[in-house]
Symmetry: C2
């Protein structure tokens, strides 16, 4: 998606260790009008998939998922990262290692909100090693629901996650796919 | 807001210890069309305040803030709850004790996203003891920005937070104010 690639080049900040900061428009400050356009693109890509629910994971995925959900007229469910007093014990769980935070999280979704009748589009901001996405897919499959696909804003295609998830038979649509990035030479897209 | 009160009575679940679960439509599963109506109500309440940015806190506030922001045509900034590798060191911080999780969090916002020129509306899902809201107000004031007010979806008015924040001179608008709640006798609104 050209609009997104241009925005990443314009406002993204490259750091060492394959860090790409897009926190001025995507995942700390959110340019709501812009992200809404990303949501519209997800609708174009998955318009014929009978999506009846969007699943994402806290925190960065929530805004994107909610703005996209408006085009699908479906609710959003976001997986939580730890057990809180306000979540019942009746949950699906998966274990996810977070590259960003260097810790292992249990992610969970209440069993009340995903079931066999659901056709779920998973939405997230980044796909890199694929751990979060794999955990979300597992949650959906544990619930007996169908994963119609994953809509990703930015895929670090030089990391293994995208290939691995696609080889599992899951349709992955990434709006920007980064082939390589380097603080010196910049970003190259696929 | 009558629509919200009715929804809380219909779909809210009361637990012991003053727990009100609204996770079927507000903060785990999100009824996007419904929450968008809440956003429209915030716009009606704060339409003449020259809001140029909405501030919220991860995770439950993000969806509400993004949907509301569409009516204000402003970006959202969400405060994060712990220091991650992807946030620069240049941040405003505050300490917030979480009643829900029973832990103390440091919340932070990058200094790049709040400044003296900003007129900020704070949005969150719940106001109870007011710790999160107070932390957000402190962040805004540390940045030299103006808090035009706080838009809260559900205020537990029998707890001290709302009164304390209002006595600080901050305008607080809560779409539903709960006077009392009890698993046996139900919910009474103000």
């Amino acid at each position: 998606m050209k609009l997104l690639e241009e925005r990443i080049v314009k406002d993204g900040l490259l750091g060492t260790g394959n860090v790409l900061k897009v926190d001025s428009f995507l995942n700390h400050q959110i340019d709501v009008a812009f992200v809404s356009q990303l949501g519209q693109e997800f609708k174009r890509l998955f318009h014929d998939c009978d999506v009846n629910k969007i699943l994402t994971i806290e925190a960065s995925g929530i805004g994107i998922a909610c703005l996209a959900a408006q085009y699908f007229s479906v609710p959003v469910v976001f997986a939580k990262k730890s057990k809180t007093r306000n979540i019942s014990g009746d949950v699906y769980t998966a274990t996810v290692e977070s590259y960003t935070h260097g810790i292992i999280n249990t992610i969970l979704v209440s069993k009340r909100f995903i079931g066999p009748e659901d056709r779920i589009l998973i939405i997230d901001d980044f796909l890199a090693n694929g751990a979060a996405l794999e955990g979300l897919i597992q949650l959906v499959r544990d619930a007996g629901a169908t994963v119609v696909g994953a809509g990703i804003v930015i895929e670090k295609a030089f990391q293994a996650g995208g290939d691995r998830i696609r080889s599992m038979g899951v349709r992955v649509e990434s709006l920007a796919r980064i082939k390589s990035m380097d603080p010196e030479t910049g970003i190259e897209f696929i």
